[in-house]
């Protein structure tokens, strides 16, 4: 299948088809003339999401009323229970959905918030009876429910700050195990610090909530915070890290920091949820925050889809109402003219079956990446399009702007690394001048990728250093990226689940803060130059291979780098596609004002695009010069073909 069939030809660096070549700045939401590729500003998706999700919640709540009025269930309790679960699940979503880390420990935070709030709010009189030996003088304090809840959240925040420092550094399984440990530690303390918590049994006399509005307001606030976080810079960077942690760091994202913020924020929300729960039940006990309940909460999140707030809400609703229905059924009622038998355990069965079914058929959850806000935006857009009479045809296709070059060269000086006894790279010095395109080639095992990893901070050098002018470039991928060297990966690491536009925007976020001294790069122009405008809102993984490669380059370019480091950009491409990449990469580099160091095995590509070429063999520089010089250098030929005549 031909690579560019039906899609915008990828090689143009200037004019583009499709979008009509606008420089839409992606900022304004005001009315006025309608340029063609107008996007609502960054605030719009957020408002849409809050609005949409709040509407969703209302619909579900009303639906719940209707449902509850049919059966014999306690109507108030069900709705309240659901709304409180929404707080808990959406709180969990803030962490799990944005970071992709499975956390078993969030009910531990809920427990802390709940106990703090409850212990403060229990009337003094009752406390003397229930907790005669309460430490910290708690027995003599009585705080109104509202303030107690606030304090509960605050205490949860503090604990989360401490725990977060630890969890945020780790990833994957280790992080999950630590959260599991947290859950059990909190449970253990709750069960055993009898003086403070009343032990394993339930502690009563907790002031109950008046009415449901309180809970609804909390749910609404929670939704707003979660939606806000999802669209905030930190939230978005967390999502990038979720998609591909290494690539995110290579784009200058501080993964640990964003995970930390997500954890602390979600802990506070879950702390609120815990407090609400105990208040609504009127009692508190360790069993409310058990591993079992953890699984229920996780199931609610996963069934709906953990990526969005809507997913959390829908999953909660499905499971809450589903469980209630099966509880009703299991009681052996008379329904639809049938005498149903009394069966125990149906709600659990339902939960497990739904969870399993979703995981086996739609692992991303029922809603996947869909959010109620998307629906709102679609409706708004349709309205807007109806109200505009003409689309202003574009004038000339806009010529992609050229940024000025930086002043400093990128110099890797005497860079080398030894693994065990093996010298992978041996004191290599390479200089890339501003605006230059230098190739790095060499036979298999020459050390090219190791060299790139050394420069970009993925591997610690045994000797040598990398400088940009006077400055040392940095020792971690994040610092290197912020320092002005942006890379692409041999194995193609785009943020698959994020849209094409968002991939580029993430780099833009980092650039806005850390690369302010370089001229801003227009995202739409980059998209246009890469031929990706038509796919701007598609998820990156849906693109074909060539377009994903170009996206990766565009993303690196959006970082406003001084130098682009491209690792096998034509890998897997045919000769035609590789030839197209020559002009494409040149165009992007000019647009951004960056020099380029490109590694590739496609010698035809290298000899065409590069100003100069360095040849590595067995970790050392074998030859340097123009492509013509290098091609005819007998040492180079020998390195590739073998030395025996």
């Amino acid at each position: 299948m031909s690579p560019s069939t039906g899609f915008a030809s990828g090689s143009d660096s200037g004019g583009t088809p499709g979008s009509g070549g606008t420089t839409g700045s992606g900022g304004t939401t005001g009315s006025g003339d309608v340029a063609t590729s107008r996007r609502p500003g960054p605030a719009a998706p957020l408002f849409a999401s809050v609005l949409g999700n709040f509407a969703l919640l209302l619909v579900i709540t009303l639906g719940g009323f209707a449902y509850a009025s049919v059966g014999s269930s306690a109507r108030d309790q069900l709705i309240t229970e659901m709304l409180i679960s929404v707080v808990l699940v959406v709180g969990l979503q803030v962490f799990m959905g944005n970071t992709g880390v499975l956390s078993f420990g969030h009910l531990g935070f809920a427990s802390i918030g709940a106990y703090t709030a409850s212990l403060l709010a229990i009337p003094e009189v009752r406390k003397h009876v229930l907790l005669p030996d309460a430490p910290f003088g708690i027995g003599n304090i009585e705080v109104p429910v509202f303030s107690a809840t606030i304090i509960g959240i605050a205490v949860t925040f503090v604990v989360a700050l401490i725990v977060g420092v630890v969890v945020a550094r780790t990833n994957g399984l280790a992080a999950t195990m630590i959260t599991l440990a947290l859950l059990f530690m909190v449970d253990s303390v709750a069960r055993n610090w009898t003086d403070l918590t009343g032990g394993a049994g339930n502690l009563g006399s907790i002031p109950r909530l008046e009415g449901r509005v309180w809970v609804l307001v909390c749910a609404a606030i929670t939704i707003s915070i979660a939606a806000a976080f999802r669209f905030s810079p930190i939230g978005r960077m967390a999502q990038a890290s979720r998609e591909d942690d290494l690539a995110a760091r290579a784009m200058g994202v501080n993964s640990s920091m964003v995970r930390f913020v997500a954890l602390v924020l979600s802990a506070g929300i879950v702390g609120l949820g815990g407090a609400l729960r105990s208040q609504s039940l009127g009692t508190i006990g360790p069993s409310q925050f058990s591993f079992d309940f953890t699984i229920i909460v996780i199931a609610m999140l996963v069934v709906g889809g953990m990526q969005t707030v809507s997913g959390a809400i829908v999953g909660t609703a499905i499971i809450t109402f589903g469980k209630e229905f099966f509880r009703f059924l299991g009681d052996g009622p008379q329904w639809l003219g049938i005498d149903w038998p009394q069966v125990e355990g149906l709600p659990d069965f339902f939960l497990a079956a739904v969870l399993l079914a979703v995981l086996l058929t739609r692992p991303a959850g029922l809603l996947g990446a869909f959010d109620a806000g998307d629906l709102v935006l679609r409706i708004v857009r349709r309205r807007r399009m109806k109200s505009t009479a003409l689309l202003t045809p574009s004038a000339q296709p806009v010529r992609a702007p050229r940024a000025p070059l930086g002043d400093d060269s990128l110099v890797a000086h005497g860079l080398g690394v030894t693994f065990g006894g093996f010298v992978a790279v041996d004191a290599v010095t390479i200089t890339v001048a501003p605006g230059e395109i230098r190739g790095l080639i060499g036979p298999n095992g020459a050390g090219k990728t190791t060299f790139v990893n050394l420069v970009t901070g993925l591997v610690e050098p045994s000797h040598g250093e990398v400088r940009l002018g006077e400055r040392r470039v940095g020792t971690t991928p994040t610092r290197v990226a912020r320092g002005g060297v942006a890379r692409t990966f041999q194995n193609l690491r785009v943020f698959g689940g994020l849209s094409v536009r968002e991939n580029i925007a993430i780099a833009g976020l980092v650039a806005r803060r850390h690369r302010r001294h370089r001229p801003a790069i227009d995202a739409d122009a980059l998209l246009a130059a890469s031929g990706l405008t038509a796919f701007a809102d598609h998820p990156a993984r849906a693109l074909d291979y060539g377009n994903q490669r170009r996206l990766e380059i565009a993303r690196a370019a959006a970082l406003r780098p001084d130098f682009l480091l491209l690792d096998e950009p034509t890998s897997g491409m045919s000769d035609t596609e590789s030839a197209a990449m020559v002009s494409h990469i040149r165009g992007i580099a000019e647009m951004v004002g960056a020099g380029v160091l490109v590694i590739d095995h496609d010698l035809g590509f290298i000899t065409t695009i590069c100003d100069h070429v360095t040849v590595l063999d067995q970790g050392r520089i074998l030859a340097e010069g123009t492509p013509a010089e290098v091609k005819t250098d007998p040492a180079v030929v020998a390195a590739y073909l073998g030395s025996h005549a």
Binding site: G100, L102, V166, R169, T170, G172, L173, A174, M177, I178, L180, A181, L182, F184, M185, V186, D187, S188, V189, R191, N192, T194, A200, L246, F291, D292, I295, I298, A299, V302, V343, E344, G345, L346, D348, F349, F350, L351, A352, A353, L355, L356, L359, L360, P363, T449, N453, L458, F489, Q490, N491, D567
Partner: protein, 295 residues
């Protein structure tokens, strides 16, 4: 001194059962990169089978092989029915699916049998003890440890001497290279699940002889301990799983002993605190050697 020896015996006894489950968890992880949270349900399966059989006056001599057989078949069925479909999925989905299976199993027993505990008679020797000098040892601990040691010896034999064991070890190291040697993927994975089931069945028999009852959720706790033990040892490392299981058992007992009377319940919490500390300091587990991620 007396106390230390007794505690050690207790710890090794309990730890032996953890280790048997943990080796199964690590074995499955080695060939499939899946942490099998449904593994503990084999205990529950065995328990209800034992209940059923003992009710009909079968002797433990028959019950034990039955429990083991059920565990093997159960384990293979789980693989065939659920995990085979999602073999290449990402770790998150795999983990949650095994979770969902665990929860489903709990629910199934609740629905189709009862949520109440079904007691059955335990053999007398399981609660008897004997003395050497001033030290009292419980027979069960000795037997558990002995059986575990024997099982691990057999496991080691199978892994080292049989073609099947060879295939499993090779597949755990490099699955595709093993296929290249002519190893059949399905066979080695089914076989790993079967073997894990065997070890689980042995551990279950031991546990049930003391437990004396069947309830829907009884598999959860041993499973958790097994996963923790396996992860401590480094997922995929069988010696690590053994060490992790035994260490966990012993640590539990000693922590409980060291704590003042009224704080005895904090054992679990403290053990978890130690585990958390371990993961902070060494995220990859004690024995595991992580391969570098290809960039």
């Amino acid at each position: 001194m007396t106390e230390i020896l007794q505690n050690l015996a207790d710890g090794l006894g309990a730890g032996s059962t953890y280790a048997l489950f943990a080796v199964g968890v690590s074995l499955i992880f080695g060939v499939m990169h899946l942490v099998n949270f449904a593994h503990g349900e084999l205990l529950t399966l065995g328990a209800y089978l034992a209940y059923w059989m003992l009710l009909r006056e079968f002797g433990w001599w028959v019950v034990v092989p039955a429990v083991i057989g059920a565990a093997v078949l159960g384990s293979m069925s789980i693989e065939f029915v659920a995990f085979r479909r999602i073999r290449g999925a990402n770790p998150f989905t795999l983990l949650l699916t095994s979770f969902a299976l665990e929860v489903l199993s709990h629910a199934v027993w609740k629905v189709f049998v009862s949520s109440k505990r079904k007691p059955f008679a335990t053999p007398e020797w399981a609660f008897e003890s004997f003395a050497i000098g001033s030290v009292r040892f419980e027979w069960w601990n000795i037997v558990a440890f002995g059986v575990a040691v024997l099982s691990f010896a057999v496991t080691a034999f199978v892994l080292r001497r049989t073609m099947f064991g060879l295939a499993v070890r090779a597949a755990a190291e490099d699955f595709d290279a093993a296929r290249l040697m002519g190893v059949k993927a399905n066979r080695v994975i089914s076989g790993a699940f079967a073997f894990a089931g065997l070890l689980a069945g042995i551990a279950s028999s031991l546990i049930l002889m003391r437990k004396g009852g069947a309830e829907p959720r009884m598999g959860a706790d041993p499973l958790l301990k097994a996963v923790i033990a396996a992860v401590i040892g480094g997922l995929g490392s069988l010696p690590g799983a053994v060490a992790g299981g035994l260490a966990l058992g012993v640590t539990e007992v000693f922590v409980r002993d060291l704590l003042p009377e009224d704080l005895g319940g904090l054992t679990d919490g403290l053990v978890f605190a130690v585990i958390a500390l371990l993961f902070i300091v060494r995220p990859q587990g004690l024995f595991n050697v992580e391969t570098a991620e290809r960039v």
